[in-house]
Symmetry: D2
Subunit: 117 residues, 4 copies
């Protein structure tokens, strides 16, 4: 992956919304809804595939998956920007949390151990 | 936001999965499911709030929102890594697409114009 | 609402799938994915509306909402049928559970009390 | 499945909300969010299972699936009630639509034919 700046993306998306007078629609509640709609469009690409088939999407499906991942990241960054959340810091905190919650030697090869159920 | 590297995060998450022998569970189909589950946990934080209230979450709710955004980004980067998708390139393509689909002068202040409906 | 039979609907949907040799795709995992995709299409109808606007959808939007609710119910009944789950019994159990979890006198007018957060 | 009345359920849920003064929170926008949150809790039960494993959930997981299906149906009926939508009529219309969209002889055994992609 090429490098890129979350900060720069946040500013670009903010300008995009301002130019269209869309900030009025971008309450965090609404952005969370838009994000899950995009997440569902991603899920839709995989719904009838086996897990194995999902590893090898054909070129047309791959193109759609790329577009959905982009849409999710766009709404994610937009929402973080609206609430002034520091995404890299949030990710670092979460990874630290996951390291202590799921010690490698305790959960190895076991999905159930990290299953909410 | 501090800068961070998507590439570095992708490698870190891959190592995390490998150490736990979790790669076997991380078929793109399954990761898409995990991602939407996290997106719903984000939606849950906003479901009974008004759009206005969603702009000013209290500290406890803000902490939860941060954690959910982190979880979504983690699964997003994990999925892109599994399918070898270049996220920054996908985002750039999508923004370009949005610029021609929604010219500022045509859609200003109008959610319906960018509504799928 | 006119009366209708969940049992009859389950049989109708099963016949529909069998006639198309689609039972092979209808593993509960896949049906759960299809259901959430339809739920997101419902969410999409409301994402840029205020809560107040969502009470009064225009005729075209109302038609779409009806179609999405139907799709959700269809996948819900299909999934219950595949796992031989008795939906009316599950609903009765859940309502009983909610009655003791949220006593009217304790939670009156308070969304936070029935918020997961 | 035992028979049950959607109408009776709608009335029961309405009374439940009124007794708690929760009607104020049940704008269709909010109910759609609550519904997708429950749909995601259903998806979560299946996320790390293979399609084959999802056919045979263990008793604890089955109990959770039943509860999630009930929650989805509850919010579905609540939302239809708030918008005065006739669910059985909507389902009948949708099944008719699906019959002409997916003629059995044309789509037999082919998920791609009913895939949105």
């Amino acid at each position: 992956m090429q490098e890129f700046s979350l900060d720069k993306l946040a500013h670009e998306l903010r300008a995009f919304a301002e130019e269209r007078d869309w900030e009025q629609f971008h309450a965090p509640k609404n952005l969370a809804m838009a994000l899950i709609v995009e997440a569902a469009e991603l899920v839709e690409q995989f719904q009838w595939l086996t897990p194995e088939q999902s590893e090898q999407p054909d070129p047309e499906r791959r193109r759609r998956i790329e577009a959905e991942l982009a849409d999710i990241l766009i709404y994610l960054v937009r929402l973080a920007d609206r609430l002034e959340i520091d995404l890299p810091a949030a990710v670092a905190t979460k990874i630290e949390h996951n390291r202590s919650k799921y010690p490698a030697e305790r959960v190895r090869g076991n999905a159930a151990k990290y299953d909410e159920y």
